[in-house]
């Protein structure tokens, strides 16, 4: 049975559009092309109906009222709007924001910009298991804290932070909580009320919807969250995000959310089985391989594994039939190891030889079997070639060696 190569194992980066999602999107390109803000004709109403349905579909997936959904271009924009919008709106109340060092760049960079503008940012450090705890957040909250922004699930590790507990802490202290739930929405149960979340970012293309569509959940009651918009204009989206709506993308995002909600239980069980098979298949055959992040507190389809004594780029070369992400940008001239893995205390060389496997809706068991086989064969071959592994077998501590500078 021949497999179609290369195999896509990078569903945390993006996903293909589900054909059922595409099907509902298509009419909105040609027939129902109206501007949803056109109030006085059929074309506009039709588009508005599509957007309304999508609002409900997104709301149902995350336990929110449809009115609380603000459409954006994706999670990067949602994070920017939430963080910068809250920072500006509540600046008279305080200028302290809490986040973590292994957040996505779309959270880190807005926070860094705010720091330059005079805001005080507390950067929490996760434990070696990659988790940010509610206790850490509670300890960091001060009188002048206006926002806590902690992602629901980490994009590189798949680890799930203590979300309902962090929400509880923030509620008790009266601090707004934003969560970048890009990786969590549609994959694990997400309920904004149960989790005490005030703002939540999500993206369509991570859940088999189109690229360029996303949303920000903004709580309307208890408390009513207000934001200073980043984009001014026609006053769309309750004035928080102006600009003609990306109706096709929004309709697709809505459908994608609906599918995730209806199929989550089955899909989670299926993915967990495949992911655990991958983990077990690799770890049982490769003595030194280790899972990064808390193994039993991760998204169902994601695993991040380190392969010590094997160099990252040669590893990627050996498994080029499998599309994965590595712990470094080794294809470019700069060899910058992943800051997420470094946040867990991993050394540069281990970070470089770490691989994130992202299984998804269309991943088959045959593909997982093929991946296990390829990875194990590649690592065994490269271990044969590795002078570091040879030293380890001889009982030499490679960390104690004084390596020359090169």
């Amino acid at each position: 049975m021949a497999l179609k190569l290369p195999i896509y194992m990078d569903h945390n980066a993006t996903t293909p559009v589900d054909p059922r999602v595409l099907e509902v999107m298509l009419p909105y390109f040609t027939e129902k092309f109206g501007n949803s803000a056109s109030r006085n004709h059929e074309f506009g109403w039709e588009a508005e109906d599509g957007v309304k349905l999508a609002r409900r579909q997104v709301g149902e997936l995350i336990g929110a009222d449809p009115k609380e959904i603000i459409w954006t271009s994706g999670s990067t924009e949602s994070n920017n709007l939430a963080i910068k919008g809250v920072a500006d709106m509540y600046k008279d109340k305080g200028r302290h924001i809490i986040t973590a060092i292994h957040e996505h760049k779309a959270t880190l960079d807005p926070c860094k910009r705010l720091a330059k503008m005079g805001y005080d940012i507390t950067w929490l450090e996760p434990g070696a298991d990659g988790i940010v705890t509610a206790a850490q957040v509670a300890e960091a909250i001060r009188e002048d804290t206006i926002l806590v922004t902690i992602m629901w699930a980490n994009n590189e590790l798949g680890t799930i932070n203590e979300l309902p507990q962090i929400g509880k802490v923030c509620k008790e202290k009266g601090v707004l909580l934003h969560t970048d739930a890009t990786q969590a929405v549609g994959k694990i149960p997400v309920d904004v009320n149960a989790a005490g979340v005030d703002l939540l970012s999500g993206s369509a293309h991570k859940i088999y919807g189109p690229k360029g569509a996303g949303f920000l959940y903004v709580r309307r009651r208890k408390p009513r969250v207000r934001l200073t918009p980043i984009i001014d204009g026609g006053g769309h989206e309750r004035g928080m995000r102006s600009g003609t709506l990306n109706v096709t993308g929004i309709v697709g995002l809505g459908k994608a959310c609906e599918l995730c909600r209806l199929e989550m239980v089955e899909e989670t069980a299926r993915l967990l089985k495949l992911r655990d098979k991958l983990d077990h298949g690799v770890l049982s055959q490769l003595e030194h391989a280790v899972i990064n992040g808390k193994a039993d507190q991760r998204l169902p389809g994601t695993t991040n594994i380190s392969f010590p004594y094997v160099e990252g780029e040669s590893m990627m070369m050996a498994i080029k039939d499998i599309a994965v992400s590595s712990g470094s940008a080794c294809t470019s001239a700069s060899l910058e190891p992943s800051y997420v893995l470094k946040a867990l205390g991993l050394g540069d060389e281990i970070a470089h030889s770490s691989i994130r496997f992202g299984l998804g809706r269309f991943t088959t068991e045959e593909e997982v079997d093929f991946t296990i086989d390829k990875v194990v064969t590649a690592v065994k071959k490269l271990l044969e070639l590795s002078p570091l592994y040879e030293m380890v077998l001889e009982g030499i501590d490679i960390n104690a060696i004084e390596w020359g500078a090169h």
């Binding site: 054909p19 080029k320 001239a333």
Partner: protein
């Protein structure tokens, strides 16, 4: 339903957009474009020559270990030298990218059968040329040259021979 239909399976389009998706799938696999390796690098990477180890304690064996794990490259190159000063065997092990593996594999091929002086004269630029290494991979060839020199020095030191006035990059 898998979007990635098995090869040879006749597509069963539900309607014409599905057909378009499937038609795209049937394009030939163009491989990984992000890493452009030369044929020769790929050949050495796929089937590296002279992988292994010689007895590092033997008097007629010289061992060179260069690079550092945190820099992403460590090369170990060993030579076995006969009484006439000729390299009769060479082995390597490399922790590094495909180009680093290829550079050290090529180095062992080249030095086998050469005298120590001849091996000492090998320049990294020759390796760059032979393997068509891009600028970002030149350090791999430098490391291979250093590994040769380091192995020769080790042999000379062990045997009380003069290092000579060789240039050491």
């Amino acid at each position: 339903m898998s979007l990635y239909a098995e090869v040879g399976e006749e597509p069963q389009p539900r309607n014409d957009w599905a057909l378009r998706i499937r038609a795209h799938e049937n394009k030939p696999n163009t491989g990984v474009r992000i890493m452009a390796y030369s044929e020769k690098v790929l050949s050495h990477y796929e089937t590296p020559r002279n992988v292994g180890s010689l007895d590092k304690n033997a008097k007629n064996v010289g061992t060179g270990i260069v690079g550092a794990p945190e820099c992403g490259d460590v090369m170990k190159l060993q030579i076995q030298v006969d009484d006439s000063g000729k390299i009769v065997d060479a082995k390597f092990k490399t922790f590094g990218c495909g180009s680093a593996i290829a550079s050290s594999s090529l180095a062992t091929e080249w030095i086998k059968g050469r005298t120590l002086d001849e091996a000492m004269a090998i320049k990294n630029t020759e390796i760059v040329q032979e393997l068509s290494l891009p600028p970002v991979k030149i350090h791999c060839s430098v490391l291979a040259e250093d590994a040769i020199k380091s192995a020769i020095h080790d042999y000379q030191e062990k045997n009380g021979l003069d290092h000579g006035d060789h240039d050491h990059n």
